[in-house]
């Protein structure tokens, strides 16, 4: 036993040494040459250095280094930024029977689905593991481990699709990639090398889970998880810089020629809004997919295995909460991104929200509405886990009516800003009766109502099985104060919404801020009051995990599917908003496929992509099940 302990300690020591050495090996190559955050970093120096055969480029007055034997200046040694080429259709490689654009679209979207999943999951896995360590409750640890198990196949698939995408881009769009690498070449190498760090962290984090499950090594394990998240986040922001550059290029001259400062090219106007939006969306998306996994297990597990059902019910609930935590702030990150799009180019902003893409946002409202409806339905079903929740059943119907009305108002279109031809195609600009519900005044009111109603459903669920005890002020008056809070907030939101109709548009936009603040204040205050109310509480009836109707799990599936479809749609939107440009305003797409797809065309292909993705997700879900079956067979064989 002692020997075993000693060898374990020695093993841990070696593991630590190895990890430090690996981290140094990964970071060392970048310590000198790539100072991404430095304002004065200049790729032109690096290129000039390369052109001079590894020697520093000659500068004025340096003499012989910059001159040939004949004393003439060697101009070829000077790096000169080149504007993007003006391409013709014949410049794009044509492969018979192979549609470059469709292939890139499909593979890029599949890569993004898996990448979002495997970047989002480790974030909340790490948080759940930390909760488990702090609370000492091993159930959290088991759940976090299982989440990682599910995502492991996702890492391989994300990397495979990423590799395929890179090859496709270089094969199908060589001139475009040449231009992009001339600006972002160094960051691309950094990105590729960072994969080693990501791989190191993900494998040591996952495979070291059991080995490090002791008081001493748990901290190291958490550090590995942190490293995994940092590596993943860095990968994401680096690749985001390429995408945001294509939408809103920076660090280049009027002719599109790179000015030499790679940081200026990275730090474009849309980079940070895109980073924030994707981080939050990744968490929401990761939560929705793991919720679907838990639902899948809940549905397929042996009904007699009550412990397993309880575990997967709890897992589904936790994933669901993670998805909601990501979903609620997501619209605000989206607003910031759109605001920056307008700030960068009003023309792009109007095309996005009021032009040819305007109907897309009605579709987006339908999808988000579907997410809210399924979320609320799941919460109402969750009340069935505890007997005492019956006292809240009377609230379900009014909440349902409010949510459906708000949802209908949200996706009612009003006036769409279009060209005269588009107006003709649409058959008018607004509906005479429903039109007033389509303006932002109604939409802001509807969205805030939706969020508040969903939070109220969540609050009901949380207190379903408990009651406050004692004679304290909050225990006695907390609920009444919360009712007053909700009533006042709804009154404020509706009054501001109605008032918005009678004031100029410029003032109206400003009113959305107090509406959002009202919602945020209610959520925060209601949580604080809950904390005070139930500081001393008793269980009225036991929460029976696993006691959920089967149909509730379909709400979780709907959540995941709606999220996925929505991501596919917005992926099309973000990319198509560039219209006929590879890099907006500077590098035109003159390929035969340089058209903006119609919404039904895009929807059809998004649908096919989602079907392919869902098939792969079932494969991903099946992998850990297969692995556990092998384990059982092995154990049975050993027993014999």
């Amino acid at each position: 036993m002692a020997l075993k302990k000693n060898s374990s300690v020695a093993g841990n020591r070696y593991l630590k040494i190895f990890m430090v050495a690996f981290a140094l090996a990964v970071l060392f190559p970048f310590s000198g040459s790539l100072e991404l955050s430095a304002e004065n970093f200049s790729v032109s120096d690096v290129w000039a250095e390369d052109a001079a055969g590894g020697e520093p480029a000659a500068t004025e007055g340096e003499g012989a280094d910059g001159e040939s034997a004949e004393g003439e200046a060697v101009e070829s040694n000077e790096w000169k930024p080149a504007p993007p080429p003006v391409l013709e259709t014949k410049d794009y490689p044509l492969i018979p029977g192979f549609n470059s654009r469709m292939w890139v679209w499909y593979v890029a979207q599949l890569h993004l689905f898996f990448a979002a999943f495997v970047l989002g999951v480790p974030m909340f896995v790490w948080a759940i593991e930390l909760i488990g360590v702090l609370s000492g409750d091993k159930r959290y640890d088991r759940m976090a481990h299982e989440f990682m198990k599910v995502s492991m196949t996702g890492f391989s698939l994300a990397a495979s699709f990423g590799g395929l995408l890179a090859f496709l881009l270089f094969v199908c769009y060589p001139d475009f990639m040449s231009y992009m690498t001339s600006i972002f070449g160094k960051t691309m190498i950094f990105y590729a090398v960072l994969f080693f760090a990501e791989s190191f962290f993900v494998y040591t984090y996952y495979y070291g889970w059991d080995a490090m499950d002791n008081a001493k090594m748990k901290k190291v394990h958490l550090a590995l998880g942190l490293g995994l998240n940092i590596a993943g986040m860095t990968l994401m922001v680096v690749s985001n810089s390429w995408a945001s550059f294509m939408m809103a290029p920076s660090g280049i001259g009027d002719d599109g020629a790179f000015l030499g400062n790679v940081w200026a090219a990275i730090n474009g106007p849309l980079w940070n809004p895109l980073n924030l939006h994707r981080v939050i969306a990744n968490v929401a998306y990761g939560g929705s997919l793991t919720a679907a996994y838990a639902a899948y297990k809940f549905v397929t597990v042996d009904p007699k295995a009550t412990e397993d059902r309880a575990h997967y019910d709890w897992m589904g609930y936790t994933s669901f909460i993670v998805a909601m935590v990501g979903l609620l702030p997501l619209p605000f990150a989206g607003y910031w991104l759109t605001k920056e799009v307008y700030g960068y180019s009003q023309q792009m902003g109007i095309t996005l929200m009021g032009g040819v893409f305007a109907w897309l946002f009605i579709l987006q409202a339908v999808l988000i509405g579907a997410i809210f409806l399924s979320a609320n339905y799941y919460l109402w079903c969750s009340l069935g886990r505890t007997e005492a929740a019956k006292r809240y059943y009377f609230m379900i119907k009014p909440l349902g009516i409010v949510i459906v009305i708000a949802f209908l108002m949200w996706f009612t279109p009003h006036t769409l800003i279009m060209t005269s031809t588009e107006v003709t195609q649409v058959g008018g600009t607004h509906h005479p009766v429903l039109g007033p519900f389509g303006v932002m005044a109604a939409k802001n009111t509807a969205v805030n109502t939706l969020i508040l109603a969903t939070f109220l459903s969540f609050q009901i669920f949380r207190r379903a099985g408990i009651k406050a005890v004692g004679d304290g002020f909050w225990a006695k008056n907390g609920t009444a104060i919360q009712v007053a809070l909700y009533t006042a907030a709804m009154g404020n939101i509706v009054i501001l919404g109605v008032y918005s109709y009678v004031i100029p548009a410029s003032v109206r936009i400003g009113l959305s801020v107090p509406q959002v603040c009202t919602t945020a204040v209610v959520i925060i205050l209601a949580m604080i009051i809950d904390g005070k109310m139930f500081k001393k509480s008793e269980e009225v009836s036991e929460t029976k995990w696993g006691q959920m109707p089967m149909r509730s799990q379909y709400a979780l599936f709907m959540l995941a599917i709606s999220f996925t479809w929505l991501m596919g749609l917005m992926g099309y939107c973000r990319s198509a908003i560039r219209q006929h440009w590879h890099v907006y305003t500077v590098f035109r797409d003159n390929s035969v496929e340089a058209f903006t797809p119609t919404l039904p065309f895009a929807a059809l292909h998004v649908t096919i992509i989602v079907v392919i993705f869902m098939a792969l997700v079932f494969f991903m879900f099946w992998m850990p099940i297969l692995a556990s079956k092998k384990g059982k067979v092995g154990a049975e064989q050993k027993a014999h």
Binding site: I350, I417, S420, T424, G428, S506, F557, T607
Partner: protein, 282 residues
């Protein structure tokens, strides 16, 4: 297995449900094809040049994204040809133009030279325009194309078109791209017949007409007040180009053809609008 099958079916119903809603629940808008540079021959007429300006204004130039009665994001330009000289005298004007034509050109390539009150970027006190320079970036109009737009704007304002026709420089104007012959109506009466207005309307310059559409005889008196902030001529323009935008009481939507933007030239619209509004031409 049965449960798995149910999940599959459920997932497919949801996924295809979204696609179906998009296909059958939303109107189909066909985005415009990527713009191409207008190719002009050296012997085009001014009317054709103005027609090209009309096409650019409503298409490649993306001007109507903002300069339209619907959007309200930028001032309407139907009178800019006549307003230009007044703008030059405005104390807020900081450009270098001396003529109306130069002013409009300056508005296209140096958009902050004069910003109409209420249309500047937020927080700039109307000193910075949100409009991009149209000779650069995503729009990227050539000099010849901008000339066509200026000619079009001067024309719809009813002022003299001062823009010179493009020269026959062979490098800029491929010979093989001769413009198609356009048979233009030369009078309001011809225009009404050409566009089959007489099938449904009666009114000035229409000897015999139908009654499926409103009588155009009273249009001159009411057009200017039908829509707040929309001039009579702009209202006529909208009524022709987007016939369902405002439906006169007692008449049905979707009965008037909606393809005039593609068929009618500016000059023909002017003939019709002048007749309807009772404008007497010299």
């Amino acid at each position: 297995m049965k449960d798995l099958l149910k999940i599959f079916v459920f997932a497919l119903v949801i996924i295809f449900g979204f696609a179906g809603y998009t296909r059958y629940g939303l109107p189909l808008i066909i985005p415009e094809a990527p713009p191409v540079e207008e190719k002009l021959s050296g012997d085009i007429t001014m009317e054709q040049y103005i027609g090209i300006g009309d096409k650019i204004f409503n298409g490649k130039g993306t001007c109507t994204l903002c300069h339209s009665p619907v959007g309200g994001r930028a001032p309407l330009l139907d009178t800019i040809g006549s307003l230009a000289l007044e703008r030059l005298k405005d104390e807020r004007y900081k450009g270098k133009a001396t003529t109306g034509e130069e002013y409009i050109l300056e508005s296209l390539v140096d958009t902050s030279a004069f910003v109409v009150a209420g249309f500047g970027k937020t927080g700039t006190n109307d000193t910075v325009s949100p409009m991009p320079n149209v000779d650069k970036g995503a729009i990227g109009l050539s000099d010849v194309e901008m000339g066509a737009v200026i000619a079009y704007l001067q024309s719809i304002a009813g002022v003299e078109v001062t823009v010179a026709l493009p020269s026959g420089d062979s490098s800029a104007m491929p010979e093989e791209e001769a413009p198609a012959t356009i048979k233009l109506a030369e009078s309001a009466a011809e225009a009404f017949i050409k566009f089959e207005c007489t099938m449904c309307h009666i009114g000035p310059e229409i000897e015999e007409g139908g009654d499926m559409g409103p009588d155009l005889g009273g249009f001159a008196a009411t057009a200017g007040s039908r829509k707040e902030g929309v001039s009579a001529r702009a209202f006529v323009l909208e009524s022709i180009m987007n016939p369902n935008a405002v439906i006169a009481e007692g008449f049905d939507a979707d009965t008037m053809p909606d393809d005039y933007p593609a068929r009618m030239t500016f000059a023909e619209f002017n003939l019709i609008a002048d007749a309807i509004l009772g404008v007497k031409n010299q």
